[in-house]
């Protein structure tokens, strides 16, 4: 191996978006015009979700078994613990589909990133920003549709506060809306990015120092296991915080 190994380029190549897909044993696939690797991952995740919920979900039995049972456990957990807790009974039931979409989409994307053939789309800030913008549009337009514009502005004015303080407080609350969205984006993006950088740094040591990198490979294995837990946790946290923020906007009188 006479060419020098650049650890930086190795890590960057595996994490950043690119226009070709490297599969083992064949030449890199040049992706078609207008599509990039993370876009292909998003499409594959949607296909997996369609496969799980349309094809493999068995509606005919009264008592669910197998994959149906597993999916129902997750969906009931999202409906009862996340949506109804944050939004009340009727709004919670109406908004459960969007939270299920968030949860399963982010979960499948995160778990796909741990399989070597695929790449982590949620380690791309554009993907997580898109998901957080969906939450932001629910917070703004959903609340305006539900409460009217005056009701929407009432959400920014806490009760029992004198008017001079209110003039300072309202812009802070409005900026807080965008800061919450930004925090949602950065939390998911940075968690996924950091985990993968650590794994690739440790695996790159194998080329640098040869057989003495065995402890590094074992550590990379343990961190991979931790990443599975983080994948579930980050999907749950994104869904839960989205539900809480949307609930704060839909029912402003409950939070204080």
């Amino acid at each position: 191996m006479t060419e020098s190994f650049d650890l930086n380029r190795y890590i960057k190549h595996h994490i950043m978006d690119s226009y070709e897909w490297n599969l083992p044993f064949i030449n890199p696939i040049q992706l078609p015009e207008g599509l990039s690797l993370h876009g292909v991952m998003l499409i594959i995740a949607s296909m997996i979700m369609l496969l799980l919920f349309v094809v493999l979900y068995n509606k005919k039995k009264r008592v669910p078994t197998g994959i149906t049972n597993l999916l129902e456990v997750f969906v009931l957990f999202i409906r009862d613990e996340i949506a109804i807790n944050a939004l009340g009974k009727e709004d919670g039931r109406k908004m459960t589909p969007i939270f299920c979409t968030f949860f399963f989409f982010i979960l499948i994307l995160n778990l796909m990133g741990l399989v070597p053939i695929f790449s982590t789309a949620t380690a791309n800030v554009n993907v997580t920003a898109g998901l957080a913008l969906i939450t932001l549009s629910f917070m703004i337009f959903g609340a305006i549709y539900k409460n009217g514009i005056t009701g929407f502005l009432k959400a920014f004015t806490p009760s029992g506060v004198p008017v001079p303080v209110l003039i300072i407080l309202m812009p802070i609350e409005i900026v807080g809306l965008f800061i919450k969205t930004f925090a949602l984006t950065i939390r998911l993006f940075a968690n996924m990015l950091a985990g993968h950088i650590v794994i690739f740094s440790l695996l790159g040591m194998v080329v640098l120092i040869g057989v003495f990198a065995l402890p590094a490979v074992l550590l990379a294995l343990l961190i991979n296991l931790l990443e599975i837990f983080i994948a579930f946790l980050q999907a749950y946290i994104f869904t839960l915080l989205s539900a809480m923020f949307i609930g704060q906007m839909y029912h402003p009188e409950h939070e204080r």
Partner: protein, 75 residues
């Protein structure tokens, strides 16, 4: 100080972020464990609250880590 590369300050910053985040999450975990020890029936709610609070603190810490990344790659 003239021979320090720009990556040095980013690394020191990342270390400080780790100290702050680990201290905060450690305090959360310790009070969560103490709460569960006092009242085991509330274990579920305490665990959920602990996870939410830890994720919020970790969000702030990772925001600072992203700033350190940006400091690493620009000049």
């Amino acid at each position: 100080m003239e021979t320090l590369s720009p990556g040095a300050f980013a690394a020191i910053g990342a270390g400080l972020v780790t100290i702050g985040a680990a201290y905060g999450i450690g305090k959360i975990a310790s009070s969560a464990v103490e709460g569960i020890a006092r009242q085991p029936e509330a274990a579920n709610k305490i665990q959920t609250t602990m996870l939410i609070a830890a994720a919020l603190i970790e969000g702030v810490a990772l925001f600072s880590a992203v700033v350190c990344f940006m400091a690493l790659t620009t000049s």
